[in-house]
Amino acid sequence: MTSVAAAVEANGLVKTYPKGVRALDGLSIAVRPGEVFALLGPNGAGKSTTIKILTTLTRPDAGTVTVAGHDALAHPERVRRVIGVVAQRSGADPAATGRENLMLHGRLYGLPSRQLRKRVAALLDRFALTEVARRPVSTYSGGTQRRLDVAIGLMNRPHVLFLDEPTAGLDPQARTAMWAEIGRLAADEELAIVLTTHHLEEADRLARRVSIVDKGRIVVTGSPDQLKAELRGDAVHIELRDEPSDGLAARALEAVDGVREITVAGRRLSARADDGAAAVPHALAALERAGVPAATVTVARPSLDDVYLRYAGRRFDEEVTA
């Protein structure tokens, strides 16, 4: 039995797509009521598939799913009443106006006309959409359209709001505005938010708890601070002038006191050091002696990027750009 206390509880989700692609491989998550929970991982890690299962769009091959106390596999229709979804692709009808999109969405939840009109007016106002409400959505900017998407997602006063890559494709300004919006939503004690992102910064900023997804499984879960605290010391990133021959640079660094967890990716070296600033001169000297001089060096406090590197065994952006 699942405790009613969980907003979302998924256990052992497995999903294989035709052509044998295993999108989920025993993924489990638990989201507490009222919290902002982030699924963090590169494209193709299984985040979107997870959201599709949790929002009843598709069914897993194995596993159990409970959303707001309802079994999503046995009673998807009950789940649909209590969730809101902001998908990666807007889904708003571009030919219809913002208001019409909201009205239709409310109708689908069976809201009576008078109540619906009130609700729509309130949402338009809250998301600063009143001015553009009578214009077709096709004329909206990316940020405006995203605000409409969120308004649509909140139409039925959901217990759980799913945001699938809420800032994907937004310019930096619209992204910051969206973050502020999500921050305001998070203040609502009743509303649990599940968001997916491949932006470390986004998860770090918005989420109370983060699960890192890799290859269809959760590799680690915790608050951003907890996860970062597990990494002792500073991150040292060095970029070499030339690509080193196999193992040469790593061996050179290993010899330096207080430097550990060395990973090499092309010209980029990453390592961990108790005192980054003190280790840098020694590390640079060691590389120079080995004949693989450094071009740039940075020392940073641990970031979620480092957490990802530690648990998934590779750098985050390698996946994203690949």
Binding site: L57, A95, H105
Partner: protein
């Protein structure tokens, strides 16, 4: 279910009402067939065995039915666009009845086919075509056009959801449109067709629609000649809608 169907249909009809130019666009083809083709082959009726009506009058049911097929066979493109844009998924995460989404497709298609057919009939009438079967005959014609439209929009939707490739729909439509039109009595009297072609027309749903409609528009319609093809067409439409509903379920499993 009825309320859901109403809201979903309203959404689709709004697009139809807001883009009247689209209607004009869909009328270009039928006008070409009616007036260019109709005039070019005006004297075909002089061939022995064709009967006595004017050629324009003869081709009206065929042009209406053919236009219904031609505009409905693109329905899958719209469905694919809705899938790609995320609109379909947006509806599927709400409690909306799944059947209502399908119903809305069929109803919107019926309404637009009716409008299109009526305009073609009026244009033809204004140019001298005559329909002794009267309003009842025109109603039968429109029902046939709607049923045939349903067959092709359901098929197109199924293909769209299944393969999700525009090229497939384009290819299929180009492949089907002309053969189905010409292996029918749309433009040519059955008695004047090569024997093998005439045999094929019996299996062509486009011809069922044309035959039933033309008969209903005639002076003293033979009821059997109207009912038999009409029932056949109705059954085929039901089958196609069922098939496309099945495909819809498959789509839901594969999102």
């Amino acid at each position: 279910m009825i309320a859901d169907t109403w809201w979903m249909t309203q959404r689709r009809l709004r697009v139809f009402v807001r883009q009247p130019w689209y209607l004009v666009f869909t009328l270009i083809q039928p006008v070409i067939w009616l007036f260019l083709f109709g005039n070019l082959f005006k004297r075909v009726v002089d061939l022995p065995g064709f009967g006595s009506m004017s050629y324009l009058t003869y081709i009206v049911p065929g042009v209406v039915v053919m236009s219904a097929m031609a505009s409905n066979m693109w329905a899958g493109m719209g469905t694919m666009e809705e899938i790609e844009r995320g609109t379909l998924n947006r509806f599927l995460v709400t409690p909306v009845r799944r059947g209502a989404i399908m119903n809305a497709n069929v109803i919107e298609q019926a309404v637009s086919t009716t409008v299109q057919s009526l305009i073609i009939v009026l244009l033809a009438w204004a140019s001298g075509a005559r329909f002794p079967g009267g309003p009842a005959g025109v109603v039968v014609l429109i029902v046939m056009a709607v049923l045939l439209g349903t067959v092709f929009s359901a098929m197109s939707n199924a293909v769209g959801m299944l393969v999700r490739q525009r090229e497939t729909i384009i290819g299929l439509n180009t492949l089907l449109l002309l053969p189905l039109t010409f292996v029918s009595t749309t433009f040519m009297n059955e008695d004047l067709m090569p024997h093998w072609m005439r045999a094929l027309t019996d299996y062509n749903p486009v011809n069922w629609a044309v035959v039933a409609a033309r008969e209903a528009l005639a002076e003293r319609p033979d009821r059997g000649d109207v009912w038999l093809p009409a029932v056949g067409l109705l059954l085929l439409a039901v089958l196609m809608v069922w098939l496309s509903t099945r495909t819809f379920r498959t789509y839901q499993k594969a999102v």
